[in-house]
């Protein structure tokens, strides 16, 4: 059974059909990329999966159970974590606090535990803090634990967002343009990280514009254009697909002015 399934999903904003009847599925421990020109509906599809948008038609299933209409925080607890295209860290929380927010839903500490700093709460806070620091360490953010998220360099902010997502104990990780704005070396590190996460049992679903990253790490690629899925398959297949080439390059763009 696939881990995530989009079954004829549509999302309409007024007269605009941002996602039109899209169906595909993602198996466990797979790395799937979603590509397409700007405005193709990729991020909208992400928002539908994570419950930020209520879908207009169709159904989204996780492990065969419908998650349409489930609120975003519940979807996180079901094992889907995400990052955002325009980084959405808690800017004025420290890096370690950002990661600890990711642990929020599975922490057992109740409000009164926190208020009275019961031994249970202290133990758990320490434990979660240790884990958060470990996670930062593994993502190469060890020296930045006490810095505000905002103060971090851009590349590290992207990574901190992944760390925060990982702290929610996901099975499926959604990355929205994780390579955007990274230099070639950072991109290599990112690819290594994604491969490592898959080896650890995670499923990764990403939106990416950088074709080198997409072609190198994806098991499968889904191509959207104008909200519709125009192609799906292994990188080599998608690369050769004439529809994909047309969507990206247009029909003889350089000749338009001549013929007119």
């Amino acid at each position: 059974m696939p881990l995530l399934e989009l079954d004829h999903v549509s999302k309409q904003f007024g007269g605009l059909l941002a996602v039109a009847n899209v169906s595909f599925s993602i198996d466990e421990r797979e790395i799937v990329s979603m590509i397409g020109p700007n405005g193709a509906g990729k991020t909208t599809a992400f928002n539908c999966v994570t419950g930020l948008f209520l879908i207009t038609r169709g159904e989204i299933r996780l492990d065969g159970h419908s998650i349409s209409g489930v609120p975003p925080h519940r979807i996180t607890t079901l094992g889907i974590a995400r990052t955002f295209q325009n980084i959405r860290l808690f800017s004025y929380m420290t890096a370690v606090d950002n990661v600890m927010v990711g642990a929020h839903w599975w922490m057992k500490e109740r409000v009164w535990d926190g208020a009275f700093t019961t031994p249970r709460s202290r133990r758990e806070e320490r434990e979660v803090e240790r884990r958060a620091l470990d996670l930062l360490d593994q993502l190469g953010l060890a020296g930045y634990a006490g810095s505000y998220a905002r103060e971090l360099p851009y590349g590290l902010q992207r990574r901190l967002e992944i760390a925060r997502a990982l702290a929610t104990r996901p099975r499926l990780l959604l990355l929205d343009e994780p390579a955007a704005g990274l230099n070639p070396q950072e991109k290599n590190e990112l690819m290594a990280l994604i491969a490592q996460l898959r080896d650890e049992g995670l499923t990764v679903f990403l939106i990416e514009h950088d074709m080198r990253v997409v072609m190198e790490i994806s098991d499968r690629i889904v191509v959207l254009d104008h909200g519709e899925k125009i192609a799906e398959g292994a990188p080599a297949q998608v690369r050769e697909n004439p529809q994909v080439i047309e969507a990206y390059l247009g029909t003889g763009a350089s000749k338009v002015m001549h013929t007119a």
Binding site: Y92, T117, S147
Partner: protein
């Protein structure tokens, strides 16, 4: 704990002079605390109370000198605090301010001696009632010495305060503690101010800070929760329904009732943010006192309110006999509330609130239930006002709709804006400063100006009613704070940067297209 660990600590070396000054001054302050136990009863009507000044009609130069000394004292007393704040802003004070402080210090000391001589040998009468029959007349001088001692303590503790944010917190509590001996010695109206205004508004400020400061939900109708707490406790401890529950049970009941209403009133505002939320809460703030005025369900006693509220007693301690007990009870309560709120701020729920304030969408996508977190903020904030309401009723023994007007909401909001939104220490300081100005200085200014006009034969001054300027002060405080120190007197570190960069985050429901 975590924050302190990672925050770069800036060490400032402490010199020997500091240490000596601090130890000496601390001893003086301690003496000030212990003095009431050694000095026997004072003569009647004697106190640092302007009413006394008026009733005994001081006419001499001593009164005037005391005013001047008071100003010098304030300069010396406040300068280390100003300096500490400026240092935190990386704008150390220049030589000129040192000179001002030095001049004020010397003038103040000289005048203290002069006043003392006037009092001892010239039988001049400064502010302190009848001379000659009580040692308390000396306390004019003692008061000055005390203030200088306090200034020295603050000055001496400066290096400590500058290097440790937590010490900053302790330092803000110092003025309160330092004024206690004054209270014991002197005016009953001071006790009244400290309980009815300072402690109650401090609790309200702490409660509102949870909603506005931690969770970032602007609530302009916080007085509604205060009203609910106040009325709930008044109904359960007065002849009006024939129920008499002990205040110490009642504070929990009041907190629970206010928390429930906090959640109920919070629920419709969940999808709102910023301006819209503010307007809706403003509505609540108007509706609740209106319901009370109209005697809703026959519970509130209409425009006259509920009177004859029981005064609490624990065993032999009768609160009505000595209002100081209110002060002690309220201070204990405030300390407990501060500790609990600080713990919460640093725990799981505190992080959730900050995350919610920073970016609601990201918070939801990170697994935070925005609905329950917001409702919890409303409920916990309201429950603190329930505590305040219970005590308020017991202190003034009558609650009426006028006590919970929009002015109260604005006062509480001004307190947290003035002190530092999101910072508990800031709220404590803000409550101290604002209630001191609004509820003690302003009413007393009337008396002082009368005395002054009387002394110098300027009738125009003696006729001014300063309490009418309360709202001007709120307004001026808010405008000046927003212009010059938008993060408050004692800003929380995060909030400061945030306000300076002016980020506005969008609401979850706006992203979801629900509102």
């Amino acid at each position: 704990m975590l924050r302190g660990l990672f925050r770069p600590v800036q060490r400032v070396s402490s010199t020997g002079v500091y240490t000596i000054l601090t130890v000496t001054a601390a001893a003086l302050v301690l003496l000030g605390w212990l003095l009431p136990w050694f000095v026997t009863a004072f003569s009647e009507g004697v106190g640092f109370s302007p009413q006394d000044a008026v009733s005994s009609a001081p006419t001499g130069i001593g009164t005037f000198l005391l005013y001047v000394t008071g100003v010098c004292m304030l300069i010396v007393l406040l300068s280390p605090i100003v300096e500490a704040v400026q240092r935190l802003r990386h704008r150390p004070l220049g030589v000129r301010s040192d000179a001002v402080r030095a001049i004020a210090g010397v003038v103040g000391l000289v005048l203290t001696v002069v006043v003392w001589i006037l009092v001892r040998w010239a039988n001049e009468e400064p502010l302190f009632g009848t001379l000659g029959n009580s040692p308390v007349t000396n306390s004019a001088v003692w008061l000055e010495m005390y203030a200088f001692a306090l200034a020295a303590v603050v000055y001496g503790l400066k290096p400590l305060v500058l290097s440790r944010p937590n010490a900053m917190f302790a330092a803000t509590a110092l003025p309160l503690g330092a004024l206690l001996p004054l209270m014991f010695h002197q005016a009953p109206d001071f006790v009244l101010w400290a309980t009815q205004s300072l402690a109650v508004y401090m609790l309200l400020g702490l409660g509102l800070n949870v909603v506005v400061g931690f969770a970032g939900l602007l609530d302009l109708g916080y007085a509604a929760f205060f009203a609910i707490g106040g009325y709930a406790c008044a109904s359960l401890a007065s002849p009006v329904h024939g129920v008499h529950i002990s205040l110490f049970l009642l504070i929990f009941i009041g907190a629970a009732i206010a928390a429930t209403f906090g959640a109920i009133l919070g629920a419709p505002t969940l999808r709102l943010r910023g301006d819209y939320l503010a307007i809706v809460t403003l509505g609540f703030g108007e509706i609740i006192p209106d319901l009370a005025t109209n005697n809703a369900l026959g519970l509130t006693g209409g425009p006259n309110g509920i009177s004859g509220i029981d005064t609490p007693r624990i065993g032999p301690i009768d609160f009505s006999a000595n209002p100081q007990w209110f002060f002690w009870a309220l201070i204990t309560l405030s300390v407990i509330v501060v500790i609990l709120l600080r713990n919460m701020q640093r725990a799981r729920i505190g992080r959730a609130w900050v995350a919610l304030r920073e970016d609601e969408v990201a918070a939801a996508a990170t697994g935070i239930n925005t609905t329950t977190s917001k409702l919890l903020a409303f409920a916990i904030g309201a429950s603190v006002s329930g505590l305040a309401g219970a005590f308020y009723g017991a202190i003034v023994s009558i609650v009426s709709p006028d006590d919970f007007s929009f002015a109260v909401s604005i006062a509480v909001l001004s307190i947290i804006v003035l002190g530092g939104i999101g910072n508990i220490a800031g709220v404590v300081l803000g409550a101290f400063v604002l209630t001191f100005v609004i509820f003690w200085v302003l009413p007393n200014l009337n008396q002082w100006s009368t005395t002054f006009g009387h002394n110098f034969n300027v009738p125009a001054i003696s006729g001014i009613d300063f309490t009418r300027y309360t709202f001007i002060i709120y307004g001026a405080a808010l405008i000046l704070m927003m212009l010059f120190r938008p993060a408050g007197l004692l800003p929380s570190r995060a909030r400061k940067v945030e306000l300076e960069s002016g980020i506005e985050s969008e609401s979850l429901s706006a992203v979801q297209g629900l509102s």
